[in-house]
Symmetry: C2
Subunit: 333 residues, 2 copies
């Protein structure tokens, strides 16, 4: 009989935590016991796993005992606070927050790209930023043709990226607009219904947001491209669940669109979806509730002979977060 | 007494035509008589102008007699069909369609950028593509610092760009989704509510759409940059009326963000709106029903020392179409 794992999901009531529990079941992960952990407010409530009701426990430093794997879906502050206790317990902590992503001794892993990095862990393995995962899955195959030197990226990020409250706020605003009622914004800086907000995360001194810099910083670590340069603009759009990315990739040597299409078609986690005659291109409408990244609109950059423009789209809650974390756990099966 | 003009609006019942009539009144254009022209279906109906009801006449080749200015807001097919009759009548035809934009003897004018080109007309003056106008108004001031060599652009285009039926379809789809009814798409290729469609216009052999190529082709003519190269991705978003553009501009020599901000602040038609501490950046929510282009998120391109990234936003129906056409007419006052 193959090994089964005692698994905890930290942040079990959030959008990503709930999806992790759903995926452990859907992907038939060998769970011997599941422990959902959340804030004191949720402790005592029940979640369902494999048809069984399981009580949520409070996530305190003393909660981590006996787990083989802890899947983290909490913010970076709480993650930093609890990580020492998780490490001390001997569990592998697969953390979806940004707390440890850039730490030298923490692997940052997209299993389709750098699975071997996961083996070098020191107790913590970080799950990358959602837009970065989706973009990296789409563009990394191009590195086989010629190393990527730089990217210019504009994102179209769904409201689910702000957690479970994001889609609720969008729905409430949409209803308020239809009914002619005042719109209130709590989760986002401004109304997001019928609007776009070019501000995700916190502004840094270089006038980029920390969210925008993740594409460069995390992209370098995941794709093993220490000199990768990325010019990224992150924009929130009134879409529920899938992130979309318009990317122009500059490679060391020119590559053809046919070769790019071929390596993307072959790459794990990617679906080449690029058939202009039949109006096939990635859209949130068709990519949500899936684990693969759709890639299309592949064409030559008209400004640079070494450039390729493309458009990709993937479910932010799944491949951009929960699925990627479970796939990291699956590397240890 | 200053001259007054006998004005016809061709396509008076469409989104742009209606806005043109509204703006002739709002901007106090010296109209001696206004004639709304539309299809046989609309002929006989009335529109209001300066508190007066005016009957719509059918737009046929024999309808053009006695006009000083014809403002065109019909598709390029009908525009091509009627243009010879308009020219023969001696009127100046200011055409919002793409029919004549790239003709050598037709000026393509954004009054803030190349007003003198309008004087060299041969009966027809073309109004540029909406996203191109908004982007050109935002980036053209940078040419004062150093000529623009190339741009990488991703658009976020409102549904109004598809005419009056676009916002109606979005609203119907939003309601259908809330009520759990099936969604139908007639105006757009797919559902646009809660979705993004990376396909505006028709696909060309180079895998770009004709809409995407307008940014390069029309941008060259408007800004007098014959060698400008543009890599453009056009995306329809579920926003009602303002287009937004994420642009990276590469100049011949490096320019500073402070200098870029200064020339944009000084430029006609632009509003510098770039104050990260106070969360001020252009958004459709704040730029609609105005004639100016908001520009913000100005920062250095991290991939190219000669690059500047920025984000701009403007009302597609107004500055992207109707206002620009009226401003061209105002050059003849």
């Amino acid at each position: 009989m193959s090994k089964k794992f005692n698994v905890a999901v930290l942040g079990a009531t959030g959008a990503v935590g709930r999806e992790m529990i759903h995926l452990l079941q859907e992907r038939n992960f060998p769970v011997s016991a599941l422990t959902p952990l959340a804030s004191a407010r949720s402790a005592g409530k029940e979640i369902e796993f494999r048809g069984e009701k399981i009580k949520i426990k409070e996530a305190t430093t003393s909660a981590f005992s006996g787990f083989d794997i802890v899947l983290g879906a909490v913010g970076s502050g709480l993650s930093r606070e609890l990580a020492p206790a998780i490490k001390a317990s001997g569990a592998i902590y697969i953390d979806n927050s940004s707390a440890f992503r850039m730490h030298d001794d923490v692997p940052l892993v997209v299993p389709e790209i750098n699975p071997d990095d996961a083996k070098k862990h020191n107790g913590i393995i970080a799950n990358p930023n959602c837009s970065t995962i989706i973009t990296a899955v789409a563009v990394n195959p191009i590195n086989k043709l010629s190393p990527i030197k730089s990217m210019t990226v504009s994102t179209y990020q769904a409201v689910s990226g702000a957690g479970a409250a994001g889609p609720i706020e969008l729905q409430e605003q949409v209803k308020a607009l239809i009914e002619g009622n005042p719109v209130t914004a709590n989760v986002f800086q401004y109304q997001i219904a019928e609007n776009l907000i070019p501000h995700i995360g916190s502004f840094l001194d270089n006038d980029y947001t920390d969210e925008e810099m993740k594409m460069q910083n995390e992209g370098r670590k995941i794709m093993h491209l220490p000199d990768l340069k990325v010019n990224c603009t992150c924009v929130r759009v009134p879409v529920v669940r899938s992130h979309s990315i318009s990317a122009t990739v500059i490679t060391e040597n020119p590559v053809s669109t046919a070769d790019v299409a071929a390596v993307i078609a072959d790459a794990p986690g990617c679906k080449l979806y690029d058939d202009k005659a039949n109006k096939k291109y990635p859209m949130p409408l068709i990519t949500s509730y899936q684990d693969i990244v759709y890639v299309g609109r592949i064409r030559k950059d008209l400004t640079n002979d070494n450039g390729i423009a493309l458009w990709c789209c993937g479910d932010q809650v799944r491949k951009g977060a929960a699925t990627n974390a479970i796939q990291i756990a699956e590397l240890f099966l």
